[in-house]
Structures are given as structure tokens and as C-alpha cells.
Amino acid sequence: MSHPKTPHVVDARYMEPPEPFTKTMEMLDTLKEGEKMLLLLFREPHPLYRVLKQNGHAYEVELVADGTFEILIWP
């Protein structure tokens, strides 16, 4: 799945926990210099935010009309 923001997307909206977390961490490991990834969820993943901050990643969040949180993450 691709998205205008980035081709690297984890669409976790219908996944059962902890799959969104593990899929995100796996994709972060595959990103190259300057690349960004997008996580799609129907909630804000505060525990993931804490891990991202601890690992020095940056992220920005946008809530779109259908209730999806688009979380753009980069190393």
C-alpha cells in the first residue's frame, strides 16, 4: 500500500495488538537515510510514541475525516 505522504505504509487499522507495534518497529528497521514511514490507526498509540522518543525518532500526527490517525515517522 502506498500513500501520498510516503510509499512506506503500515495500515494497522484492522490489526489486533500487538501487531501494529511490531509491524511499525520492523518497517523502521528497513528505512534508508531520509526515508519516512506512515502508520495508520484508529487511535493514538501513546506507548509507541514513548518508544519512538526513547529511540530518537521523530513523528507528526494528523487526524483525518474518517477517524484515522496518520502518524508519519522518520529516523
Binding site: P17, F42, E44, P45, H46, P47, L63, D66
Partner: protein, 432 residues
């Protein structure tokens, strides 16, 4: 579930568990009161026994679990960390339990001193909770409808407890205030601005996560809390300044907003991707159906003055919303949270060397479904008892007692199995 209740920053199991295990005993007491009092409990919502039973359910059951669960989930749904969760839980649990028993005794036996003591203990306990939880919550920015909803719900709790304390002290010390109008407002703040908004804020997260449904539309979930809160605010202004038309308008809009939320949630659940309906799903379906009927009955009472003076309709509204609605939502969520917390703590005990048992080994689906059937029957009987109290009041009370004994059995069984597995894991780790 892991995203909702991650071990990272999770309080100890004992923190929320004390609330979850104690709350059904208060519902059990309410059932026993109905068995004891019989038809007289359903004569009007103003009888001493009815007021006692209502507060056993709303504070003893609902508020216990709501505040206990908030301590557990605030770090995960809002990124808000509470300092010393175990100490906060102990004080909160003690204050709520003693305060509720005193309040119920004060109503039931007409004891002004018990009422005044209850008002002071509950007022101080909930103020203490708010002083611990509100500052960190209001410091985080409202990046999601859940955080925004939680902030409005906290304001709702402030309004509820302020009105409740004033009403209890007025009853105890004979102050001259418009008791009936303020009691209606107290109920609106408690069941709407606090309970309803807290439920909506949590539903935005748990409905898509538990049932794998689509999310709530952003515009609806963003504006629902502020519009609903505004309605309760206008209703309060209308009571203070005696503006009956404004009160009716606020009540109608609040009921329509509540109906919209329930119907949207039902629609989302109909689009779920989890094929098999579990106890949580069924409990939510029951809760939403009862809440829809309750809100229609509230609209009828508001718009049809002849009905307003009857005893049955306001009672039916309260029974539908509290026992059919809130109790169903809450038990449905408990059935997800308790097995998951047990599993999470066992997994942590196993240190990745000894696996935790599956969640259905902690609490079996069949036991939850059977308990739900008892609860459903109790709700139907209590509703029937409003119209045929002589025939149905005591059977309804008995059914309610059975449903809550079953709930205690299920929850205590889950904790017992958790302890057994914890011992087993410790032995296996020692043998490695």
C-alpha cells in the same frame, strides 16, 4: 489490547483490581435491597430505598470501576502518567467504599449524620483524585477526541460531585434549596457530562480495537463532547435562572446527541471484522439498545408533560440507562480488561522464558456469556417490575443478586487462576 494496556508505565495489578473486585458487591447490595424492600422500592425515584440503591450502583459500582480503570488506562489512551498509582488507588478505593456505604445507609435509614459524613468523605476523596489526575491530564494537548472527551468528562465529574455534596448536606442539615430540580441536574451531570462523556471518550478507542470496526468520524467524535457538555451547561443555567424553555431545549438536544452516539456505535459494530460475537460485543449491544430506549423515554418525558408527573417513566429511564446501559458497558469492558491484565502481568513474570497461558484460560468465554444472560434477565425483570411491582420486584431483585454473585465468581476465579499460574511460572523459572 497491548496498545491499550501496555506494560510500559502500567500500574501494579493490585491498583485497578481492588476496584473491579469490590464494585460487584455494591451492585449485590442494591439487589438485596430490592429483595428486602420489594415493591415499595419502585413506588417513586424519591423513596429512601430507591435513592440508596441508585447510589450503590452509580458510586459503588460505576464510579469505582470508572476511576479504577482510568488509573490503569490514562498512560495508554492519553499519555498521562499518574504519580504513585498504588497509593492513589488505596485512598480512592477506601474513600469511595466507606462513603458509598454511609450514603446508602443515610438514605435508607434517614440518618442525617451518615448523609453528612458521606458527603464530606466522598467530596474529599473525589477532590483528591481530581487533584492528582486533572493537572497532568490538562497539561497534555488535546491531540485526539479521546483526550478532549476525557477533559470534559473530568469537568463533568466536578459538577456531579459539587451538586451531590450540596444536595446531601441540604438533606442532612435542612437547607432550603430546590431539591428536585437540583437532583435532576445532579443526575444529568453524573450520567451525562461525566458518565456519558467518559464512555464516549473510551469508546473512540475500545470499539474499533475490541471489535475491529471502522473508526468514529473525526468531526463527530471531536464535537460530541463539547456540544453535549454545552447542553448540560445550558440546562444548569436554565435551572438557576428559571428558564423552562431553555431547559427543555437543552434536554432535547442532549438526548438527540446521545442517540446519535449510540446509533453511530451500533452501525460501526455492524461493520466489525471480528466474525465471532464475544461477551464484550454482546454486552455493548445490550447496553446500546437499553441506552437508546432510555434516551427515547427521556425525550418522551421532556416533550409530554403529562408523562413527566408519572412515577413509572422517570424510573424506567433510570433503570434502562444505569442497569441496562452503563452496567452492561462496564461489565463488557471488565471482561476484556481483567483477563488481559492477568495475562500481561504473567507474561512479565515469565521474563520471556516461560510463556503466559492464553487469556481464555484465565476467564472462559462460556462463563462470561452465561453471566451476561443472567444480567440480561435481571434487567428485563427490573424493567417489568416498574409496571408490575407486586409481581416482579422481588424476583427482579433476586435475579440481580444472582447476576452479581456470578460476576464476583467469574472475576474472583480469574484472579485465583492468575495466582495459580504466577506460582507455576515462579517454580518453572526456578527450575531453569
Amino acid at each position: 489490547m497491548q496498545a491499550l494496556l501496555s506494560f510500559d508505565k502500567a500500574p501494579p495489578f493490585a491498583a485497578p483490581l481492588r476496584f473491579f473486585l469490590t464494585a460487584p458487591f455494591f451492585a449485590l447490595l442494591a439487589g438485596l435491597l430490592l429483595v428486602w424492600e420489594g415493591p415499595s422500592l419502585l413506588v417513586s425515584r424519591w423513596t429512601p430505598g430507591t435513592l440508596a440503591a441508585t447510589h450503590l450502583l452509580t458510586i459503588g459500582f460505576m464510579l469505582q470501576i470508572m476511576l479504577g480503570a482510568l488509573i490503569q488506562v490514562l498512560p495508554v489512551v492519553a499519555g498521562v502518567n499518574i504519580a504513585h498509582p498504588l497509593t492513589v488507588s488505596r485512598w480512592l478505593h477506601g474513600g469511595l467504599s466507606i462513603g458509598t456505604l454511609l450514603l446508602a445507609a443515610g438514605f435508607q435509614f434517614g440518618e442525617p449524620d451518615a448523609l453528612a459524613m458521606a458527603a464530606i468523605i466522598l467530596g474529599l476523596t473525589i477532590t483528591g483524585f481530581l487533584m492528582v489526575v486533572a493537572p497532568p491530564l490538562f497539561r497534555v494537548s488535546s491531540t485526539s477526541p479521546t483526550i478532549r472527551g476525557l477533559k470534559f468528562a473530568m469537568l463533568g465529574l466536578v459538577g456531579t460531585i459539587a451538586l451531590g455534596v450540596v444536595l446531601a448536606l441540604a438533606l442532612a442539615w435542612g437547607w432550603s434549596i430546590p431539591l428536585l430540580a437540583l437532583a435532576d441536574l445532579h443526575a444529568a451531570w453524573g450520567l451525562g457530562a461525566w458518565g456519558g462523556l467518559l464512555l464516549a471518550a473510551m469508546a473512540y478507542v475500545v470499539v474499533p480495537m475490541f471489535q475491529l470496526t471502522p473508526g468514529y468520524q473525526a468531526r463527530l467524535s471531536w464535537w460530541f463532547p463539547v456540544l453535549f457538555f454545552a447542553c448540560v451547561g445550558f440546562w444548569s443555567v436554565a435551572v438557576l435562572f428559571e428558564l423552562p424553555l431553555l431547559a427543555i431545549l437543552a434536554q432535547v438536544v442532549a438526548s438527540l446527541l446521545g442517540l446519535t452516539f449510540c446509533i453511530v456505535t451500533l452501525r460501526l459494530q455492524s461493520q466489525r471484522r471480528r466474525a465471532r460475537p464475544d461477551a464484550t460485543y454482546r454486552y455493548w449491544q445490550l447496553g446500546l439498545s437499553c441506552a437508546i430506549f432510555a434516551l427515547f423515554s427521556a425525550l418522551t418525558v421532556t416533550l409530554w408533560p403529562a408523562v413527566k408527573d408519572s412515577n413509572e417513566w422517570p424510573l424506567l429511564f433510570g433503570i434502562l440507562l444505569i442497569t441496562g446501559g452503563f452496567l452492561s458497558f462496564i461489565v463488557g469492558m471488565l471482561y476484556k480488561i481483567v483477563p488481559f491484565l492477568a495475562w500481561l502481568h504473567l507474561q512479565n513474570l515469565g521474563e520471556s522464558k516461560v510463556p503466559a497461558p492464553a487469556m481464555n484460560k484465565i476467564l472462559a468465554e462460556a462463563a462470561m456469556q452465561k453471566q451476561m444472560a443472567c444480567h440480561g434477565l435481571a434487567v428485563v425483570l427490573v424493567m417489568g417490575a416498574v409496571f408490575a411491582p407486586e409481581w416482579l420486584a422481588r424476583p427482579a431483585g433476586f435475579a440481580f443478586v444472582v447476576a452479581n454473585v456470578f460476576l464476583i465468581w467469574n472475576l474472583a476465579g480469574a484472579v485465583h487462576r492468575y495466582r495459580q499460574h504466577a506460582l507455576l511460572i515462579a517454580r518453572k523459572l526456578a527450575a531453569l
